[in-house]
Assembly symmetry: C2
Homo-oligomer: 115 residues x 2
């Protein structure tokens, strides 16, 4: 079981990598800002994009992860990247991770932690 | 002109009040979590709601404020509360605030800072 500090560091490492990836991807669109939100007091972690297309504001949350009950909760993932797999590659166990984006009744069947 | 520390504290005070308001509002829906995201390193501040209705996840960002260039940027406000007015009530000046949710060309006409 990972320590709280390991969970935080792993989440921030994975999301920092993802933010870099999206910043490279949007390098030709300087009006697009990739925002990295790391709240290590309340343990909420996000990557979001802020942009404008003409008069229309674009606001997209790519990822929202929380740490609670000494687990990483993947709450939102609006990309096709598996954040859970990236967390596993960096040494977390499935039992350290809750797929919060799955309905509660499905979580016991995911192979990951249920809560 | 407010100091960076005053800007941060005012933003966090206003959003903490808003989070309390929404927590009271959702008190009878224990499945709804009001999430307060304060990143004082990158200066991003948010209030979000996470919930489930049956198999459907509800994820709503009520507010997203940033501090950049020694101004408060109101980036997202999905409520009918004027966050700008709440910031003014707590002592900020219009020149401390950018209405980032207005298209850039409109900002010079808002009475608030343009950038």
């Amino acid at each position: 079981m990972a320590t709280l500090e390991q969970l935080r560091q792993t989440v921030m490492d994975v999301l920092t990598e993802q933010a870099k990836f999206y910043r490279r991807g949007f390098a030709r669109e300087p009006q697009t800002e990739i925002v990295q939100v790391f709240d290590t007091v309340h343990d909420h972690f996000q990557i979001a994009a802020l942009s404008w297309e003409g008069e229309t504001q674009i606001y997209n949350i790519f990822f929202h992860l929380d740490i609670k009950g000494e687990k990483v909760w993947i709450q939102v993932n609006n990309t096709d990247e598996s954040i859970a797999e990236l967390l596993l590659e960096r040494g977390l166990q499935k039992s350290d991770i809750v797929l919060g984006l799955q309905p509660p009744y499905k979580r016991p069947y995911t192979g990951y932690a249920s809560e």
